[in-house]
Symmetry: C2
Subunit: 340 residues, 2 copies
């Protein structure tokens, strides 16, 4: 089969590799319907995720069809359309029971999902079936968005304690930040301010329900936020980037007693703990436990209440995956969907 | 009047100073019934709170009787017994409305409460009246504990999201940590583990409802916590010290997806943000907004449901205040109550 392989920074290739097979009786093999490129894939692509010693398959977002299952798998079977959350989990351990599927004692990551097929360990705990009678082609991007990007924005909003009537700032106008706007509105936020300098991203933010867009950054951006929100900053800030600057922006924008919900993988983030302490500004979040949220989010996608797949502004066949990386790296695409 | 003054590290004196007076029409002057020494008073006493350029009045916890009020004060009047939360606040600004009285736009701290009288700005917003028909001498320590120490433990528990059925670890066996044990139990925690090596403190922890006491610290302590809690760590950890070591202990004891509620003023605390991110371990807390909690907590003290004043294991008249500092500094007393 063909699989996307990162050989070295900036060197993405579609290689011919061995087909995955059932290795454990709890596995499934899933044939891809759609995959995509994540902002976090750009870290190794840019050589910023540590030294890479050998070529590695890449990608972790997938919508697919079950091709085969191990002997103990009972929840899904051949032909089922399934959402593949970006980490696998057994959905039964003590930590899954607490909703932290990302720390499942039997969990882990995949061997590259920008590929024609993927082996999914812990298939029963991991895969979420799309009801056959509800499946349509038009739903593909929105269902694919449930494998990572939308639940990650949702996790930022949940972590930041967005609730009915909250005032919200979203730092980051990538696909995750835009998803955070949609998630915050879905959870009942009264006012959502998207921080974005890029016209096409601002447009999606507004489509997702953003009430205001602030183009300025740093102190100036934070001042604008405060002005919009009656002088005190936001109840909830969604930090969807993961850099030192974006985290600083987040804490500058949150009100005393408010919470920064962060889902951007932190790179060189330093926190001013005494200031956090004296202002009761909280830090909640981390890697999104996608599986924990799917039972809540899938119905809203199936009935069209939300269309999280609008973050995909580029669609390419798998054999142009390298172009997708280039486009996202150069910020010419927000998020690239790969077809098979 | 007599007031406690810190002249230099370890040099506590009871000085004769001018009586406080009404300076603004929103002030009250309160005559002290009981005050006490806080663990945080030991930082400047030990010379660890920055250089001190001149003698300073000290103390911020008080139960007293209103002696006089400014012309616009209507909520309290001469003769009322009042709890004086350790910061003053107007209880009406946008931040007070959000429950963050510690960041009140018209708020601040007092000019030393280990004194015979204190000026309380924003008297209407700050002072909480004890109903005259409920007041007894036996309630004095428990009411005094509501001015800071118990609501601070409560804030740690609320911040750590302690709720019905939570598993809880309390790091720190000072008066705040012990208060955290009581607060966690009051909020319905199923299992509370107090980390303490000191027999008399262990006894109070058990009296406050601790189900287990762990004497070990560091990795070994965290291992014991995990063993007690089925292998995964605590839902909620109350960090009630504020040192780098205690914060580390807290994060070692919390389960993935759990929350560290911190109320120890941070000194040299460094956070491992990537580990927090990958484990969804959260940091919530800060300076306790005492005033925000008093309407909820006072009734439980008045009807004897909780006895937070049990943290006072030494009672001294004001003129022996220096002995109280020595006793607390040498950990011979948990918390010293001062009588007038």
């Amino acid at each position: 089969m063909r699989a996307t392989v990162l050989h070295a920074p900036s060197d993405i290739r579609l290689d011919e590799v061995a087909d995955p097979t059932i290795e454990q009786d709890t596995d499934a093999v899933v044939r891809s319907l759609a995959s995509c490129i994540c902002g976090s894939d750009l870290w190794p692509y840019r050589g910023l995720a540590g030294t890479q010693s050998k070529p590695q398959k890449i990608g972790h977002e997938l919508l697919g069809v079950v091709e085969s299952v191990g002997s103990s798998v009972s929840g899904v079977s051949e032909g089922d359309v399934v959402i593949v959350p970006f980490l696998y989990s057994d959905n039964t351990c003590a930590l899954c029971a607490k909703g932290v599927h990302t720390s499942c004692v039997n969990g882990g990551g995949y061997d590259g999902c920008q590929a024609e097929k993927v082996r999914v360990p812990q298939a029963d705990g991991t895969l979420v079936k799309v009801p056959a009678d509800r499946m349509t082609d038009a739903l593909v991007p929105h269902l694919l968005a449930l494998s990572d990007v939308f639940p990650t924005g949702h996790h930022a909003a949940v972590s930041a304690r967005v609730t009915e009537g909250s005032t919200v700032v979203v730092v980051g106008d990538g696909a995750v930040g835009l998803s955070g706007v949609l998630a915050a509105k879905r959870l009942g936020a009264e006012t959502v301010i998207a921080m974005s300098r890029h016209e096409p991203r601002q447009a999606i933010a507004r489509q997702f329900g953003a009430d205001h867009v602030v183009a300025e950054r740093g102190r100036e951006g934070a001042e604008q936020v405060k002005e919009i929100l009656g002088g005190i900053g936001a109840d909830a800030v969604l930090e969807c980037v993961g850099t030192g600057d974006s985290m600083k922006q987040a804490f500058q924008s949150v009100r005393p007693g408010g919470t920064v919900g962060y889902v951007g993988m932190p790179h060189d983030v330093k926190l001013n703990v005494p200031v956090m302490f004296f202002t009761n500004s909280n830090l909640v979040g981390g890697v999104a436990p996608v599986r924990a949220y799917l039972d809540e989010l899938l119905p809203d996608v199936l009935d069209g209440t939300i269309e999280p797949g609008l973050v995909f502004d580029q669609t390419l066949p798998l054999d142009q995956v390298a172009d997708g990386y280039t486009a996202m790296d150069e910020r010419k695409a927000i998020k690239t969907l790969l077809t098979f």
